[in-house]
C-alpha cells in the first residue's frame, strides 16, 4: 500500500514538473508545435490531480486499515479512533496536511485547466504558475515530509492516536476550509502574475478571477471562524481568539485578501490601483505560504503548530523565489500597470477604498510585526519576549474601529466626488441612530464607558455597528424605492430585485452586515464574567442571575478514552432551564487530556462550563463557569457573511429596462376648408 502511495507521489511530481516545463516552453516559443506542447502540459496538470488524489485516498485507506507500518498512520491514528477522525488523519499531521494541500492545489488546477477555453493564453500562463507551485509541494512530499515513510523495527500493536484537541467534530471541517482558503489564493495569484507576465490588456483577468477570489475568501473566512469556534469549544479557556501565532497566520492573508476584494473594484471601475492590486494579491499568496511556514517550521510556539522540522528552510527558499519572480516581472512590465484615472476628491468612493486598504494593510503589518517580534527580540536582545493578547488588542481595536467607520462611510460615497451636503443628508439619520443607541446603552443598560477602556471600546463598537447597519439598510431602502417606482413592486420585493440586479454590491452589503454582527459579538467580551468552585453534591454557584446546582459527578471508560464529568442543573429566576454536563477526557493512546466544554448558548450570553479536574484530597470536581455575553452573535454574523458571499457569487439579473419615451409624430391638424 505505502509503495503505491510513494509511487503515486513520484508520478505526480513528474507530471507536474512536465506540466510546468512543457507549458513554459510552449509559452516561451510560440510556434506550430507549441500549441500541442501546451495541450500536453495542460493534460499533465489534469493528470496530476488524479495521481495526487490516489495518494491521498491510499493514506486514508491506510488509516482505516490501521496500517501502522506507515509511520504517519502510527503517529496520528489508533485502532479505536472513530471513523470521522480516521478520515481527518489525512490533515492532522505535517506530512498528511501537506499532501492534502497538494491535493487541493491540484483540484483548483483541474478546474482552471478544464475552463481554459475562456482565454486559452491567459489560462496557459496561470496553469504554468500553478504547476510551479505544485512542483514545490510535491518536492516537499517526496523528499522532506514523506507521508508514506515506513516504520523502522517491529510493527507496533497500536498507534499513538490523534491529538485529543483534534478529536472534535469541527476539526473534520475546519482544516479543509482553511486550506481551501489558503490554497485558493494561488489561483488569483497565478492569474495576476500571468496577466503581468503577458502584459494582458484590460481588466478581463480580474473579471475571470473575481469569483475565484470571492470563493477563496469565503472559504478562508469559514476556516478562520471555524478555528475560533473550535478554540472556544475545545480549549476551554473561555475565549475564541488568543492571537496565537498560528491564528495570526490565518488572519494575515484574510486581511490582505479582504483589502484586495475592495481595491480590485477600483481597478475594474476606474482603471486605478493596478500596481497596488497586483502586489496585494502577491502578498496574500505570499502570506498564505508564510503562514504555512510559521505553522510547520517550529519558529514560533503555538498550541496549533506541527512538530519542529527542517521544512522551514524549504518554505523560506520558496518564499524567496516567489519574491524574486514577482519583483522581476513587476520591474519588467510595470509600465503596463499605469492608472487610467486619477483621484479627484478626498471625499469619494475611491479614497474610502484607499483608506480602507491602508487600514487593512496596517492591520496585517501589525499582526505580522507582533507575531515576529519575539524572534526579532531574540536576535537583538538575546532573549525572547512574549507578544500576546494585550499588545494585539491595544493596537488592533482602534484600527478595527476606524475600519468600521469606513464601512459606514464608504457605501454612501459616490465614485469620483461627493459633496459634503449629500454626505450630511445621507448620514444624518444613521449618526442620530448611532448616538441614540449609545445614550440608550448608557442610560438603559447601565454601560459605563468611563470606568474601563474595554467598556468604552465596546460602546464605540456597538455605536459604529449601528451606524453601519443603518447605512446598509438605508442603501437597500433607497434602491428598493427606486426599483419600486419603476416596477410597482412592494419595497421588500423591490429590495430583493435590487440585490439580484447587482448581487456583488448588495451581497457585499450583506457581508458588511455580517461583519457588524460579528463585531457586536466581540464587543460583548468586555463584560465577560467568570467564577470557579469545587462542587460537591448539592453545591451551588451563582453567576449573573444563574444558579448552578451540582447533581452528580461520575466517570466512564470507553474504548478510545476515559472521561469524568459533572451533572449540573441550571436555574434562572427560580426555574430550572437546563442541565449541563462539563466533561474531561483522558485519551488512552496519546495519554493526553482534553476538555469538553458544556455550553448553553443564547443570543444574550453563553453559560460556558469547564470541568477543570478533581481536587485530589476531596475527590470533588472543580468547575469553572464563564458568562460570556453576545458570543452567539459572532457565529450568527459569520453565517450572514457567508450568505452575503454566496449572494455576491450569484450572476446578476438583467436590469429593468424602462422604455424611453417614444417621440410621436403629431397628426396634421385639419384647418378646415
Amino acid at each position: 500500500m505505502s509503495q503505491i502511495g510513494s509511487f503515486a507521489l513520484l508520478l505526480a511530481l513528474a507530471l507536474s514538473a512536465y506540466s510546468f516545463l512543457a507549458g513554459l516552453l510552449a509559452l516561451a516559443r510560440p510556434g506550430a508545435g507549441s500549441e500541442r506542447l501546451g495541450e500536453t502540459a495542460r493534460r499533465a496538470g489534469i493528470a496530476t490531480f488524479a495521481v495526487v488524489l490516489l495518494a491521498a485516498v491510499i493514506l486514508v485507506i491506510a488509516a482505516f486499515q490501521d496500517d501502522f507500518s506507515i509511520a504517519y498512520i502510527f503517529h496520528h491514528s489508533n485502532r479505536d479512533l472513530p471513523a470521522p477522525y480516521k478520515f481527518a488523519t489525512l490533515w492532522s499531521g505535517q506530512e498528511g496536511s501537506l499532501l492534502f494541500w497538494s491535493l487541493l492545489l491540484s483540484a483548483y488546477g483541474l478546474v482552471l485547466r478544464l475552463r481554459h477555453k475562456t482565454d486559452s493564453r491567459l489560462f496557459a500562463h496561470a496553469s504554468v504558475i500553478m504547476a510551479a507551485v505544485q512542483v514545490f509541494f510535491l518536492l516537499l512530499l517526496n523528499f522532506a515530509a514523506h507521508p508514506f515513510a515506513i516504520m523502522q523495527g517491529a510493527l507496533p500493536e497500536d498507534g499513538n492516536g490523534l491529538n485529543p484537541l483534534l478529536q472534535y467534530p469541527e476539526m473534520v471541517i475546519h482544516p479543509p476550509m482553511l486550506y481551501l482558503g489558503y490554497v485558493g489564493f494561488t489561483v488569483p495569484f497565478a492569474f495576476a502574475l500571468g496577466a503581468l507576465i503577458m502584459r494582458y490588456p484590460g481588466e478581463k483577468w480580474i473579471h475571470i478571477t473575481r469569483r475565484w477570489t470571492m470563493v477563496t475568501w469565503g472559504f478562508l473566512t469559514c476556516g478562520v471562524f471555524l478555528g475560533a469556534h473550535w478554540a472556544y469549544s475545545v480549549l476551554g479557556w473561555g475565549g475564541y481568539w488568543g492571537w496565537d501565532p498560528v491564528e495570526n497566520a490565518s488572519f494575515m492573508p484574510w486581511l490582505t485578501g479582504t483589502a484586495f476584494l475592495h481595491s480590485v473594484m477600483m481597478q475594474e471601475k476606474r482603471g486605478m490601483l493596478k500596481t497596488w492590486n497586483v502586489w496585494l494579491i502577491f502578498s496574500t499568496f505570499g502570506l498564505s505560504i508564510f503562514g504555512t511556514f510559521l505553522t510547520r517550521s517550529g519558529v514560533v510556539s503555538s498550541v496549533h503548530a506541527f512538530a519542529q522540522s527542517s521544512i522551514g528552510n524549504w518554505f523560506i527558499t520558496f518564499l524567496a523565489v516567489i519574491l524574486v519572480v514577482c519583483i522581476f516581472f513587476y520591474v519588467k512590465n510595470r509600465s503596463h500597470l499605469v492608472s487610467e484615472h486619477k483621484l479627484e476628491s478626498l471625499i469619494s468612493r475611491e479614497s474610502s477604498f484607499l483608506f480602507n486598504n491602508l487600514l487593512f494593510v496596517v492591520a496585517c503589518f501589525t499582526v505580522l510585526w507582533g507575531t515576529l517580534f519575539p524572534i526579532l527580540s531574540e536576535w537583538i536582545q538575546d532573549h525572547k519576549i512574549t507578544v500576546g493578547p494585550p499588545f494585539f488588542n491595544r493596537v488592533m481595536i482602534p484600527v478595527a474601529l476606524l475600519l468600521l467607520l469606513l464601512t459606514a462611510l464608504g457605501p454612501l460615497l459616490a465614485w469620483r466626488r461627493t459633496s459634503f451636503e449629500s454626505l450630511k443628508r445621507n448620514f444624518l439619520w444613521p449618526v442620530v441612530g448611532a448616538f441614540t443607541t449609545g445614550v440608550l446603552l448608557i442610560i438603559g443598560f447601565g454601560m459605563r464607558p468611563w470606568k474601563d477602556a474595554a467598556y468604552s471600546y465596546s460602546l464605540m463598537t456597538i455605536m459604529l455597528s449601528v451606524l453601519v447597519a443603518l447605512t446598509v439598510i438605508s442603501e437597500f431602502v433607497r434602491g428598493g424605492r427606486v426599483i419600486g417606482r419603476h416596477t410597482g413592486l412592494n419595497i421588500f420585493s423591490s429590495m430583493v430585485h435590487l440585490a439580484h440586479r447587482n448581487t456583488r454590491r448588495y451581497g457585499g452589503y450583506i457581508v458588511h452586515f455580517g461583519v457588524i454582527v460579528v463585531m457586536i459579538g466581540f464587543a460583548g467580551s468586555a463584560f465577560n464574567r467568570e467564577a470557579e468552585q469545587e462542587m460537591g453534591y448539592g453545591d451551588r454557584i451563582n453567576i449573573g442571575g444563574y444558579t448552578l446546582v451540582c447533581q452528580s459527578y461520575t466517570q466512564e471508560d470507553k474504548a478510545n478514552y476515559r472521561s469524568e464529568w459533572a451533572i449540573l442543573d441550571v436555574f434562572k429566576g427560580g426555574k430550572q432551564i437546563t442541565t449541563l454536563y462539563p466533561e474531561q477526557r483522558f485519551y488512552k493512546a496519546s495519554q493526553q487530556t482534553s476538555t469538553m466544554v458544556a455550553n448553553r448558548s443564547t443570543m444574550k450570553e453563553d453559560l460556558y462550563l469547564v470541568y477543570e479536574g478533581r481536587n485530589l484530597d476531596t475527590g470533588r470536581p472543580i468547575i469553572k463557569v464563564h458568562l460570556n455575553p453576545l458570543v452567539m452573535w459572532i457565529w450568527t454574523g459569520v453565517w450572514i457573511m457567508i450568505a452575503g458571499t454566496v449572494i455576491a457569487l450569484i450572476p446578476n439579473a438583467a436590469a429593468v429596462r424602462v422604455a424611453a419615451p417614444v417621440r410621436i409624430q403629431a397628426e396634421p391638424v385639419a384647418t378646415g376648408d
Binding site: L346, V362, K384, T386, G388, M460, R478
Partner: protein, 178 residues
C-alpha cells in the same frame, strides 16, 4: 448614494474643493478626538487589579495561555502564580512593581506584552508609525493627484458623438451601479 450621484453632475465651483476637503476632515477629526477622549476616560477599578494584572501575565507551564485562563489540570505553575499575584497585591506595590517581580522570578516571557522601555518600545511604536506614515503618504498622494491641472482639449470641449454618449452612459451605469 443616489443623491450623491446627482451631485457628481454639478461642476465644482471655485474654492469648493478646499471646502470639501477641510470641513469633513475637521468633522472626522473632531469625532475621532471625541471618541478617543471617551475611550480613555476613567481610571482602572482597584478591585479589578487582580483580573487586570492576571491578564498581563502568562502561565509559564508552556501552555502559552493567559495566567488567569490557564485551565490545565494539575498545572504546576498557574495556581502558584495566582497565589503569588494575590499576595503581591496585598503589598502597597504599584502594578509595575508587581509585574517586575514576576519578570525577575520567571523571566521576560512571563509578560504577555512587550514593555515600553528600550528595544521593546519598538514593538509598540511600529504599528502606529506604519499607520501615520501610510496616512501621510496617502494624503500627500491624493493631494498631488488632485492639484494636477485638468487638461482641456485644445479648442474647447468637442461635442460628444453618439458612441461617446453610449460610453458615458456605461460609465454612469458602472459608477452608480444601478
Amino acid at each position: 448614494m443616489f443623491s450623491g450621484d446627482n451631485d457628481n453632475l454639478r461642476p465644482p465651483s471655485v474654492g469648493e474643493g478646499r471646502f470639501l476637503a477641510s470641513r469633513p476632515v475637521r468633522t472626522l477629526q473632531l469625532t475621532l478626538l471625541t471618541l478617543a477622549v471617551f475611550a480613555f476616560l476613567g481610571a482602572g477599578d482597584q478591585e479589578a487589579r487582580f483580573g487586570t494584572l492576571g491578564h498581563k501575565l502568562m502561565c509559564v507551564c508552556s501552555c502559552n495561555q493567559v495566567l488567569l485562563e490557564c485551565n490545565h489540570v494539575g498545572c504546576r505553575y498557574s495556581d502558584r502564580m495566582r497565589d503569588e499575584l494575590a499576595a503581591a497585591l496585598e503589598r502597597p506595590d504599584s502594578d509595575d512593581l508587581v509585574l517586575q517581580s514576576f519578570v525577575q522570578k520567571y523571566g521576560p516571557t512571563v509578560l504577555l506584552a512587550p514593555t515600553t522601555t528600550g528595544f521593546n518600545r519598538l514593538a509598540w511604536v511600529m504599528p502606529y508609525l506604519a499607520l501615520v506614515l501610510g496616512l501621510t503618504t496617502l494624503v500627500l498622494i491624493v493631494r498631488t493627484w488632485r492639484m494636477r491641472p485638468f487638461r482641456m482639449p485644445a479648442g474647447g470641449v468637442a461635442p460628444a458623438s453618439a458612441s461617446e454618449f453610449e460610453r458615458f452612459r456605461d460609465q454612469a451605469r458602472r459608477d452608480t451601479e444601478i
